[in-house]
Subunit: 226 residues, 2 copies
DNA sequence: GCAAAAGTGTTGGTTGTACACCCATGA
DNA sequence: TCATGGGTGTACAACCAACACTTTTGC
């Protein structure tokens, strides 16, 4: 088979893109417009070009779907089972990215017929081994949230402490005590309280915060937080 | 060039094998017998065969050098810079393994002229991007030691608490308080004190311990320890 | 008897956790 | 005035870090 020959021993990138809608962690998935797995939902990905490094390939995919650049993205894991792709031996290097869900509208692209946000606890059956890829990505996200500050990439510029708490709760899948959370997170000193409050809310208006990016980056380096 | 064509767009495994000699963390490196980088020191690795999954490939390499099977091994990271290999586009999936240094003698193999243990703080300049691979592996090892029990794979069946402490010190690159270490590690409950002590030592004989493997595995799952 | 490593407790500070009420706002 | 989520303090337990001396053994 021609396609089979051409695809023999090559590799692709898959890109798990996480967002947070204020309540749940979501992931951006496409509906495949082509065989194999036509019409299946899948993690967006593409073959890596001959002269393309891996990170740029991952960024290319991210940009083609979201228009976003310079986004947090990190290598996740490489999946290489011999039979994972029906057209030949294709190993895939999975990346994951964190994006602010409000800053763009996903757009279909060459390899995607439809594109949508899916809550990570209501995933359909996916193409290829993509359920395994997503499981690994979610596990990594949880791990990260335990070890480092998280949120800069997932929240808007200004956010309330409750939003941040709900983010942690959504990632970790547990409830957090409001008072203890506030104490802990404010003591870590990477939040800047703003002189600005919510308006038009039917309750006491919450203060907005933003991230101190230097401090945030520094804590991320060190690991250990949370 | 024929070789270039044949190697176009394929992938390899590299296998960082850590051991502990009682004092320092060491890593098993080969001297390459072939071009490219002939005579350079390198992390052992090989191309992945057409019908070979990644883990089996990593195990094959480990076994050919050490004779060992069923050893702790985990995927580390995938390195895929376009120009990382002079003969073509070869991305490499790095694994790392932990072995007990006393249970075997490394043996040269098809791809290795010489093979030796190197202390991780006295590494030479390595072939390809292998210094970066090792740096990542050491970083991962440190991270692991902070989050999980470690040692089962690196120590002999029976060991003293001082040996275990020196292992942690070697990995983390810091000194640990003897009393606090004992308290902490024994409270975690994955050690079994044996009715056996050192003999022929010019000081008070230390008790031997062994690992409770179920408990150890369970704590490893959970993460969080240490 | 001396050198070398084993083994052992206490204290003070810090951190984590559980828990309940009043406040500001829009409807 | 009611419903909603914002904001606040305390007490107890667990954990962490610092620290020095006695014991056993071979030489």
């Amino acid at each position: 088979m021609e396609a089979k020959k051409q695809l023999h021993s090559t590799f692709s990138i898959d890109c798990v893109i996480f967002g947070f809608d204020g309540e749940r962690i979501k992931v951006l998935l496409i509906e495949r417009g082509e065989e194999p797995y036509k019409n299946f939902i899948a993690v967006p990905g593409d073959l890596v070009e001959e002269n393309e490094d891996l990170e740029p390939a991952a960024n290319r995919i991210l940009k083609s779907l979201t228009g976003l650049e310079d986004i947090f993205m990190e290598q996740l894991y490489t999946f290489g089972k011999v039979d994972r792709h029906p057209l030949g031996r294709i190993i895939t290097v999975a990346y994951y990215a964190l994006v602010n869900i409000d800053t763009f509208n996903p757009k279909a692209s060459s390899f995607a017929r439809k594109i949508d946000w899916w809550a990570i606890d209501e995933l359909p059956e996916l193409a290829f081994d993509h359920n395994a890829i997503l499981a690994k990505a979610i596990e990594r996200l949880r791990w990260m949230a335990n070890m480092q500050p998280i949120g800069l990439e997932l929240l808007p510029e200004k956010f309330t402490l409750s939003q941040l708490r709900r983010l942690y709760e959504a990632i970790l899948g547990i409830e957090l005590d409001k008072r203890n959370f506030r104490r802990k997170i404010t003591k870590m000193d990477f939040l800047i309280p703003l002189d600005e409050k919510q308006i038009n809310v039917a309750h006491k208006a919450a203060r907005y915060y933003s991230f101190n990016k230097e401090k945030y980056a520094q804590l991320k380096e060190e690991g250990k937080a949370f």
